[in-house]
Amino acid sequence: MSGGTIISLAVLICGSTFGEIAMTYGMKATGEPARLRPKPLLIFLGRAVCKRMVLGGDSTDGTVVLCVIGTAVVGAGQLCDSGVGAELRGGNTGREIYLKEEVNAARWAGVILVCIGVALVAAG
């Protein structure tokens, strides 16, 4: 694995973890839509896009997309999917610490199974 691939993967894992956590934080701060109907949903989305955390999370995810393309270009496409698995695992730890979510044993076991599954799908 070349240095470029390692850097791309590091940005992919860290960037998408931080991006998604920032977006979740922003969406939690926005609150729930009043109803699941088109008009309340549009109002809710309008409120959400005004949140800096949501915009920050989205732009970090945009950077990650560029890194995925970069990783694929340098010939490590399969590693992108394994990176997603690592991001799931890393993100779960971040969520416990930053978003104060209670991740119980069943959820941890589920996340680990999903990580292994994603890695196997990527390697297959």
Binding site: E20, R107, V114
Partner: protein, 144 residues
Amino acid sequence: MASEKRLRIKTLVMVLAMVVCANAGDLLLKRGMTDIGAVAITASGVSHAFWMTVTSPTIWAGIILLIGFMVSYMTVLSWADYSYVMPAERLEYAILTLLAVVFFHENVTSKRWVGVLLICLGVLLVGQTKPRTTESAALQKVTA
């Protein structure tokens, strides 16, 4: 208890909407780009591909479905835990593999099938937990 059941159903419906929109959107993009054919990396090749892309109804349908994915994703995050939504969203790997077999007749190795099975088991385990373990901002304001 009833509100928890309602929350669980609401979350599952939104996660299902996410998975369906993401999978159908990806498939339509793939179909649309396959119809356009290989893009020549030259100025005229890229501009021709760009024109073919913006005039393709299949690609527009894919884009609309992916916007639907983004809207349902943002909506479900406003009430459910991210550690609940994220693994459930990975169900798309399993569904995408099935769709690739059905629509594109792709060969799937046994290793990949085992991966799909593990993802399904993992999602099932995560689905047994509570969708929300923290209070949303709106609830916090009311209780403060």
